[in-house]
């Protein structure tokens, strides 16, 4: 069977022998699709244009596609089986994100060169440092190569349960090796003395090749919490893996806490939130650390939304309003193709301001003003003026579920010692999304209590900062240990305080 991959003028051909599912085929020939649900047939995001001898549309697949898409030969890769000759038209999209970091105070303890790495579930970041000067010489960034095994950790663990974890281990190890070589060339050095690799608990399990099965069902028992030397090497250098606090509060959070220097602030009350899929929140109360993982989901990465996409080219990243006129801005200033996390936050905030939605999130079908109320696939929706991109009623519900998880997580930790948001001195926000979002929009829709808006301090990729700190200054392991011993994980499952705040926090009035 002949497979033709057609990318603009470039045509690439290959042959296969057996019938195969389309997503498997794409993986084999190196076309990486976003598969947020990991091929579970629920997210509808594994879209690809393809024609030829394929299985017919099933009812479920049809439901996840629009009429236009069906007409344009768009299929969902995880549903579709390849039976003969086909043509594939992949739509590759470079996602560029920045790694912004600030290091805490440290002393130089080493010589030579080292690599600091953060394996994020979505993005992998690496920096090469001169250990004797502390200077960062080069960096590399990439979309996690495990993405095609599922967007979130649970989907990847399920994939490992079905196919073993070797594929994912290979994917990430190969990726890090390639990135390391890239960094080495850029920096013009010829060897690496040591490395520190951080990441959430699941990512470190995959890197080490440990059993992940028990991480994904209650009581969530990790095989290891690390805080040890890796059994592998990175471009021949020994690797240190920082310690995780729990199964869902990983070494990335330990490193982020390290980067904030929170444990030294024993006279303060501070909050830290990582606004990623797992939505970790940490509260420092005079040196005591309460941590929780709120499982907000990937809505702020654009997944689960009708026109959602990552912050790549053509994503609406900003929406604003002036004198009753709505303006928008896309990444790369190209025509609007979809909307990313920071854009949806702005859009929902404006919808509230204009009373397109009420406090329960219901879209007013009779709204008159900027933009149009339309029906998109039978869902009531607000179309952003000047674009074909709209925010549907279902999208609003997804945002309510996600924002309230973070909000309720914060409230639950505060409740531990009967504190209120006003008591918080500083609110650290980690992660790329946190960097790009408009804080006023975030506060306005209730992603966090309103009082915190003026107390925000952005720390960028805190996990990478922490890893770099551990790389440059071995004595920081003392602080790492003390973070672990001062941390207490607060379980949100079966926690009535959380449930109560979670349900209330879904409204747009309760904060």
């Amino acid at each position: 069977m002949k497979i033709k991959v057609i990318e603009g003028k470039r045509i690439h051909e290959c042959l296969i022998k057996k019938n195969i599912r389309l997503d498997m085929l794409l993986k084999q020939i190196g076309i990486l699709l976003d598969m947020p649900c990991g091929g579970n047939h629920t997210c509808g995001k594994c879209k690809v244009r393809v024609s030829g001898k394929l299985s017919t549309l099933t009812k479920d697949e049809r439901k996840l596609l629009t009429e236009d898409e069906v007409k344009n030969n768009i299929r969902l890769a995880c549903f579709t089986k390849v039976f003969g000759d086909i043509n594939i038209y992949p739509n590759v999209d470079a996602t560029d994100t920045l790694s912004m970091i600030t290091l805490p105070k440290y002393n130089l303890t080493g010589k030579g060169y080292g690599l600091a790495v953060d394996i994020g579930t979505t993005t992998v970041a690496m920096q090469l440092y001169d250990l004797s000067t502390g200077k960062m010489l080069s960096e590399a960034l990439g979309v996690n190569a495990q993405g095609s095994f599922g967007a979130d950790v649970i989907s990847r663990i399920q994939n490992a349960a079905d196919n073993g974890n070797k594929y994912q281990q290979d994917a990430i190890q190969n990726q890090l090796n390639l990135m390391a070589k890239d960094c080495i060339t850029q920096a013009g050095v010829d060897y690496i003395n040591k490395s520190v690799i951080t990441g959430n608990t699941t990512m470190l399990h995959f890197y080490e090749g440990l059993e992940v099965k028990n991480l994904a069902t209650a009581p969530f028992t990790p095989t290891s919490l690390f805080g040890m030397k890796s059994n592998h090497t990175l471009v021949k250098s020994p690797i240190y893996l920082p310690k995780c606090i729990g199964s869902y509060i990983g070494a990335d959070i330990t490193c982020t806490i390290l980067a904030t220097e929170m444990i030294h602030h024993s006279d303060k009350i501070e909050l830290l939130a990582d606004l990623g899929t797992n939505g970790e929140v940490v509260l420092n109360i005079y040196g005591k650390l309460y941590c929780a993982s709120t499982a907000a989901g990937p809505a702020f990465e654009g997944a689960n939304l009708t026109f959602g996409m990552k912050a790549g080219k053509g994503a609406i990243a900003k929406v604003s309003i002036k004198a009753n006129k709505v303006f928008y801005k896309t990444v790369g200033n190209t025509p609007a193709k979809g909307i990313c996390g920071s854009g949806i936050l702005d859009a929902v905030s404006i919808m509230l301001e204009l009373k397109i939605i009420d406090e329960t999130g219901h879209i007013d079908s009779e709204f008159e003003g900027p933009g149009k109320i339309i029906y998109h696939n039978e869902e009531l929706a607000w179309q952003i003026p000047g674009t074909k991109i709209s925010v549907t009623q279902k999208d609003i519900r997804q945002i309510q579920l996600a924002k309230s998880a973070i909000f309720a997580g914060i409230k639950t930790l505060l409740k531990k010692e009967n504190l209120s948001p006003e008591d918080i001195d500083t609110f650290y926000i980690a992660g790329g999304f946190g960097h790009y979002m408009n804080r006023h929009s975030a506060a306005n829709i209730g992603l966090f209590p309103k009082e915190l808006e003026d107390r925000i301090k952005l720390i960028g990729n805190g996990a990478l900062s922490g890893a770099a700190t551990l790389l440059l200054d071995t004595d920081q392991r003392v602080n790492e240990k003390s973070i672990i011993s001062k941390s207490k994980e607060i379980e949100l499952s079966g926690n009535p305080t959380f449930s109560e705040h979670y349900v209330d926090g879904m409204l747009f009035s309760h904060y």
Binding site: T58, D60, A216, G494, M506
Partner: protein
């Protein structure tokens, strides 16, 4: 329809628990029988709530507030209903499968099913397959309904299907499944009977099974 009953129904839809309970008491004092209040005010009110939820017009908080009204009002009606010896529509055993602790969706399903007049026995979260079967036997249930929110725990539903099939409940009990990662294909694959996308559809389907 009686004005009192319409009033109760709209108080329930608006989520006014205190007023709703008061209105129910007043209706009882007026001599309207409990079964009528239940069916024509509370359940019909919940039915509207369910339909609006399905249409995405209202969301989780509004449903839960309406549910609180219903429970408060039922406190008044229950003793009377027992006296009247009314017959429930059917019995559902409900729970979140083993390894999974998510319960908000399941609780909504519970509310909506009660809103259809079904008796729901909620086993909570992290429920092993055998417990579903045991409870179904004990309560002479018509339906076993399982919820799962994790891709890694949806497989537990196969266990429930197998356990039911292996028991003497096989032809008596229907198995319903749901939760965000579940699909109708998955339902077919594991040999469960019914899949529903949301609480309202779940209640509808359960009702159909019980009256059929």
């Amino acid at each position: 329809m009686n004005e009192k009953l319409t009033e109760i129904s709209s108080l329930l839809q608006a989520g006014k628990a205190g007023k709703c309970k008061k209105a129910v008491k007043a209706a009882v004092d007026e001599g309207i029988d409990a079964q009528t209040i239940l069916n024509e005010a509370l359940l019909s009110g919940m039915d509207v709530v369910g339909r609006k939820f399905k249409a995405n017009e209202i969301f989780v908080p509004e449903v839960l507030v309406a549910a609180r009204c219903m429970n408060k009002s039922l406190d008044v009606l229950k003793p009377l209903l027992l006296k009247e010896g009314s017959e429930p529509v059917g019995t559902v055993i409900l729970g979140t499968v083993k390894g999974d602790l998510h319960d908000i969706g399941k609780n909504l399903v519970n509310i909506m099913m009660q809103g259809k007049g079904l008796t729901v026995i909620d086993l909570g979260v992290d429920v092993p397959a055998e417990k579903f079967v045991e409870a179904a036997k004990e309560n002479n249930a018509d339906i076993v309904a399982c919820s799962a929110l994790l891709t890694t725990t949806m497989g537990e539903m196969q266990g429930v299907v197998d356990a039911v099939k292996a028991s003497d409940l096989a032809d008596k009990v229907k198995i319903m499944i749901g939760g965000a990662p579940i699909t109708s294909d998955f339902c077919e694959e594991i040999g469960a009977d019914v899949y529903s996308v949301d609480g309202s559809e779940a209640a509808e389907a359960a009702y159909e099974i019980c009256v059929a």
